[in-house]
Assembly symmetry: C2
């Protein structure tokens, strides 16, 4: 099976409380993402870690119960923190840092992760092909830096569009761009 | 077979002429590298590309017939250039940029590459194990971001120490550090 790639740049999901404290208003939709209901917001914020700063982090909506910052290992080294590789929503014992917005700042206690690569698969397709939610699969790329990514988490839902999500480090290591196709092995 | 990893940060090899124009003196040995005869020099220089700058690029010695800058895809995006993925020494039709040193600057016409990952293997070990120079092999890593790197160029010489060379993007994508072990498949 061929799966289109979606490269995730660093981004943040915020709780309603944090949105108000950082921006003083609700999120404003900038553009829809490929996953139904998800959107990039107009708002951006800045990160301050023990070793460095990174500006202009895009906020993704809608709001979530817990704030969660997803960065690359490259970003983590620049900021001076050591986030774990985790599935979205699993932020226990992850590090925090300082979020700076135009209306205020938030000391995030925890919630910084390096996102575990994963595939979003629509329910109907998974049933047709015999794939189950939360199984680990491998996908292979082509070209001069061809790799097989093992330990790819398969997520199945009738709300998902088919997409293989990697971060910028993974994309650069394999020379992948959004819209490229990978093969499920 | 288990092979120790060597993570290559961005670095540059310089011709004798470029060394003199940039630094006004010969390279000064800072520390020896794992590959026999190779060393990191005390000298560093700065890169100026069409879109951005990167400071403090380590010069590796000894001097070479042609200058060659090895950077990551992440660096290439920051500088605004599109270097090809190439084996060391193969710089034809690669882009250039401006090198800035304390004694002068050099407009590099070509020589910027993203290094193709490779294994250095001592002749004796290769003979024992039946491996030939310039063949392509695959190596596998462990952990939450386990990958198989395909298209790994095997280089055999009696001057080599056993080592799998990757760049920072590849290391971060697989969470590899210098000294980790990978398995030749």
């Amino acid at each position: 099976m061929q799966i289109p790639v979606g490269v995730s740049n660093r981004h943040i999901h915020l709780s309603k409380d944090h949105i108000i404290r950082l921006f003083g208003c609700d999120l404003i939709r900038y553009r829809d993402l490929k996953q139904p209901g998800q959107f990039a917001a107009e708002q951006k914020l800045h990160l301050v870690g023990p070793k460095g700063k990174i500006s202009n982090i895009r906020v993704l909506g809608p709001d979530r119960p817990q704030s969660q910052l997803e960065i690359s290992k490259t970003d983590a080294v620049a900021l001076g923190i050591e986030p774990p590789v985790r599935d979205s929503g699993n932020i226990e014992n992850s590090p925090g840092l300082t979020l700076v917005g135009p209306a205020g700042q938030v000391e995030l206690e925890q919630g910084v992760i390096i996102a575990h690569r994963h595939i979003h698969m629509p329910q109907k397709l998974a049933e047709e092909q015999g794939f189950e939610d939360k199984t680990m699969v491998s996908v292979r790329t082509q070209g001069p830096r061809a790799v097989t990514f093992h330990q790819v988490l398969l997520r199945v839902s009738d709300k998902f569009a088919l997409e293989f999500h990697v971060d910028i480090d993974e994309a650069n290591a394999a020379l992948l761009q959004t819209g490229d196709k990978v093969t499920l092995e």
